[in-house]
């Protein structure tokens, strides 16, 4: 899932300073799971803002609404009406959701409440780690299910750099060296031959942004995009 974290409160408060009627729009999917922008976090942020503005003698009207997903138009329609009474929208979605929301017809200006960080996993409650850089060319079948693009900070494709010390990463000694881990797992599985060949240069052309994927079944419908 997409992992995000809330921006520092001071930054959010400063961005909202000129406005008196604020609608906070939450997102009920990834950012709710990672405790950054779901219904509960929207409520907390609203209370914090009301309190801070009240203390500053600049009270605000704050509305709260959380949709299932801000990255899906299907769930966005109710917002068109909801924003009418507000000056500004504060979105607690990831960067994709913020952009989708901001592009809606008749939308008020939208500002983000979160910094979107990575595609990751839920290790434990409140503990998330990155796993995927969305590189368009998955190597996991060759590398024992450990991603060299993501788990090696240098994204090396052909074995470890010279900086690892006792299997720990040069960049952050708390982390395992991805290539040592790949080697160890494949050795245990008797599949070291998979990483013998030299992997070629990564096809970065595929990662030119913004990416577009059209599902096979919809090629005819959206053919113009190809």
């Amino acid at each position: 899932m997409i992992i995000a974290e809330r921006k520092p409160f001071a930054e959010i408060k400063a961005a909202l300073e000129p406005y008196e009627k604020i609608l906070i729009v939450g997102c009920g999917t990834c950012v709710a799971v990672c405790l950054a922008g779901g219904e509960k976090e929207v409520g907390l942020l609203a209370s914090q803002l009301k309190l801070a503005r009240g203390q500053n003698g600049k009270p605000v009207k704050i509305g709260e609404i959380t949709v299932e997903r801000q990255c899906d138009r299907e769930f966005m329609q109710p917002l068109s009406d909801a924003v009418a009474d507000y000056d500004i929208v504060l979105s607690t979605a990831c960067g994709a959701g913020v952009q989708f929301l901001a592009a809606m017809p008749n939308m008020k200006p939208v500002i983000p409440a979160l910094n979107t960080t990575f595609i990751g996993v839920n290790e434990e409650a409140g503990f998330y780690t990155e796993r995927c850089r969305a590189c368009h060319n998955c190597y996991l079948g060759l590398t024992g299910g450990i991603c060299p693009v993501t788990m090696c900070p240098k994204g090396l494709l052909n074995g470890p750099c010279g900086g690892n010390i006792k299997g720990k990463c040069e960049v952050n000694p708390e982390n395992d060296c991805a290539w040592c881990a790949i080697y160890e797992r494949l050795e245990r599985q008797g599949r070291l031959d998979l990483i013998d060949p030299i992997l070629p240069l990564h096809p970065h052309a595929r990662t030119t942004t913004p990416g577009v994927i059209i599902h096979q079944a919809y090629k005819r419908r959206y053919g113009g995009h190809e």
Binding site: P153, K154, G155, L156, L157, N158, G159, P160, C161, G162, G163, N164, I165, K166, G167, E170, V171, P173, C177, W179, C180, I182, Y183, E184, E187, L192, I195, D196, I198, L199, P200, L201, H202, H204
Partner: protein, 293 residues
């Protein structure tokens, strides 16, 4: 033709010394060892933003070394350039007659003085070796024909004391497959480790062993069991080097470097030596004097 290649392939036990490009535009200190040691050593090696700290460009420094009448070796790191820039730099080196290139992945940006810089690593060191080899046949990595065929003598890094060793041997094997001409090791103080590594690689692989004058801080860390490096500094050696005055540590370190250099040569533990003495010409000269070179 590269004098380093001639010396390494002719079994002449070359010495390559590392000089330090300035953080600025005044190259005099960098060139001091070139002027004082030219003729005594085979080549002068120029790091590329070493430890991710920004310094003068190696290709420009190489031209200055050549102008001083000596042979340069440039390092080329994958950290700071995409494939276009790497290839362009390789062409620039060849056009200036610089053949010796040490291909390295490069320390990560968080180790250096521009920690917010974007780390590139478009190619890794294995792939960059392949690119350079391909350029020698007259083609760039996109398959486009070059005007002329550059000549390089290509080096890469090997870590004798890597732990675990398996992944490092995989990397070394891939560098060999990619066409590396020689390896330069990480610093070695325990020569039995160098010997073991050499046996694993095979004597046909050309190798320069790195002899380094340790810093006073490294000596202290080794004594406290806190040295976090890809090489070890045995406690017994660190005890011998320990002194209150850093200048004395340096003097003892130079004596140690001379001893290591002599032993590597006498016991044929490597095909040559790569000397790191903080770019100080007088220190290098003292080491060479004591080693009888």
């Amino acid at each position: 033709m590269s004098k380093l290649k001639e010396a390494l392939e002719g079994g002449k036990f070359p010495i390559v010394v590392e000089i330090k490009p300035p953080k600025g535009i005044n190259p005099e200190a960098m060139l001091a060892p070139v002027k004082s040691l030219n003729g005594r050593v085979t080549a002068f090696s120029i790091p590329d933003n070493e430890h991710a700290k920004m310094r003068l460009s190696p290709v420009a420094a190489a031209q200055l070394v050549k102008a001083a009448g000596a042979e340069p070796m440039i390092h080329l790191t994958c950290r700071d350039r995409n494939r276009l820039a790497l290839e362009s730099e390789l062409l620039g080196a060849a056009a200036l007659g610089v053949e010796n290139v040490l291909i390295i992945s490069g320390d990560f940006v968080n180790q250096g003085d521009h920690p917010d810089a974007k780390p590139v690593y478009d190619a890794d060191s294995v792939q960059l070796l392949q690119i350079a080899k391909g350029m020698m046949t007259g083609f760039d990595s996109a398959g486009q024909e070059l005007n002329g065929k550059p000549q390089y003598y290509l080096g890469a890094v090997a870590i004798p004391e890597a732990d675990p060793l398996g992944p490092q041997l995989l990397r070394v094997k891939k560098k060999t497959t990619a066409g590396v001409d020689f390896f330069i090791t990480a610093p070695v103080y325990d020569l039995s480790k160098l010997q073991e590594f050499r046996q694993k690689l095979g004597a046909e692989v050309k190798m320069l062993a790195t002899v380094k004058v340790p810093k006073a801080a490294e000596v202290d860390q080794a004594l406290e069991g806190k040295l976090r490096k890809v090489y070890s500094l045995p406690v017994a050696v660190a005890q011998e080097l320990k002194a209150d005055d850093p200048a004395e540590v340096e003097r003892k370190g130079a004596a140690l470097a001379a001893k290591l250099l002599k032993e590597i040569k006498a016991k044929n533990l490597a095909d040559g030596v790569y000397l790191k003495a903080r770019g100080k010409g007088e220190l290098m000269a003292a080491i060479l004097d004591q080693a009888g070179i």
